[in-house]
Amino acid sequence: MIESLQFEFFRNGLIGGVLASIACGIIGSYVVSKRIVFISGGISHACFGGIGIGYFLGFNPLFGALLFGVFSSFLMGEASLKAKEKEDTIIGVLWAVGMSLGIIFISLSKTYAPDLFSYLFGSILTITESDIKLMIFLDFFIFISVILFYKEFLAICFDEEFSRVRGLNVGFFYLFLLFLVALTTVLLLRVVGVILVIALLTIPSAIISQFFHSLKKIMLFSVLLGIFLMIAGLFLSYFLNLPSGATIVLLSSFCYLISLLLKR
């Protein structure tokens, strides 16, 4: 265990995992309690289009993902606010469009994409120093946003209509929340990849929200549980020589199952 920490890639992986858990626990608590799991899944998958474009045009795929995540979160948010009856369909379509664009652009790019797999399923051990800097910045932004608008987010998530009657900009806050979901997705991309993002975004908060009924506590303990699952999963994958992202997700899912049984 100690000797694994001597490797820089392992240390970076651990730091990345912890940084991802912070955003995950905070934003995941909104995703679970406001029940926007599907829309969050849509946003994270749409990010893959941006990764493809990043490859094609030769810039950091994470920035491409950020661009696509923000753009798709805006489109899906507008659909959910203004065309409620079509919301599901629009999310599903954007989800598929993002993935398809990603595949097309990657196939068009001349360069071989060796770490494509890592964007799909994550590879926590390839996290670089610059990834970590980006993650710290995103974490900081998410944390500050939630502190500044905690009471507005709470009011809007609980009762949109009443908040509208009180004169709050419900549309703005909803889109802003989805924007934070997009940022969190980008944070998680390197750790677990687009396909598994939704698992880490929801599982820690889903487990914790069964035991606490204050959003603040759910956030705090989701972060702690996320960190634990991340570290435990990483060590498990290291010793069993398994893909890290999938191991973390399976371990988390297993804990979720246990928590459901405990709660029965």
Binding site: S33, K151, A155, F158, S163, V165, R166, H213, S214
Partner: protein
Amino acid sequence: MNENVIEIKNLYVKLRDMVVLEDINLSVKRNDFLGIIGPNGGGKTTLLKTMLGIIKPYKGDIKIMGETPEKGREYIGYVPQYVFFDLKFPITVWEVVLTGRLNRTKYFKNYSKEDKEISEAALKQVEMEKYKNKKIGELSGGERQRVFVARALVSHPQILLLDEPMANVDSPREKEFYELLKKLKEQEKMTIILVSHDIGIISAYVDKIACINRKLYFHDSKEIKMDELMAVYGCPVDMIAHGIPHRVLKEHD
């Protein structure tokens, strides 16, 4: 003190190209207790939401305290329908009541001492202060309604709008809830508008009744004409209108 707090003239509302409210005329005076009854899908909630500026009228005029609904709604305390809530949502009674103090001027600020004092007082007023730290989903239907009334009260409204407040309240609690509304009308001089699909529920407490089913029938009194009730419900309805204070309207099978 006889001014109209709500004035609706020739109001038409369309939802997805369907006329749901047709030529509505209604004036509500200060300190009135108005019950609006009508079948499900008759446009009751739509009328409330139009008053709140959530739904825009297709034609006609609507004034709340002499202002447009978007402006006038700051005088309104709104108690929405029970079905809109997610009871699993992690929020306590106290947090729910505090959200009633929110508005755009509170961005970037914490709740003030005044916000907290007003919220405490509102919880006392509806006799729910003991439940302050409970999760909203743990309360019974009647208790929850009281909390939502408290949330509506903290903005010091002049008008209270309640959408189907008895939908999930068991009958012994119903009377207590009406007593609470009566107290608010008498002590706080509030104007109260209550919407319900259940005729029987409009008890001795309201002073005026309107019937709605796309069109609105209203005579500025507690009187409903038989043919109008039939027009609204599409079936014969029997009225037992004697013996105040327990004046009850009953529905035939």
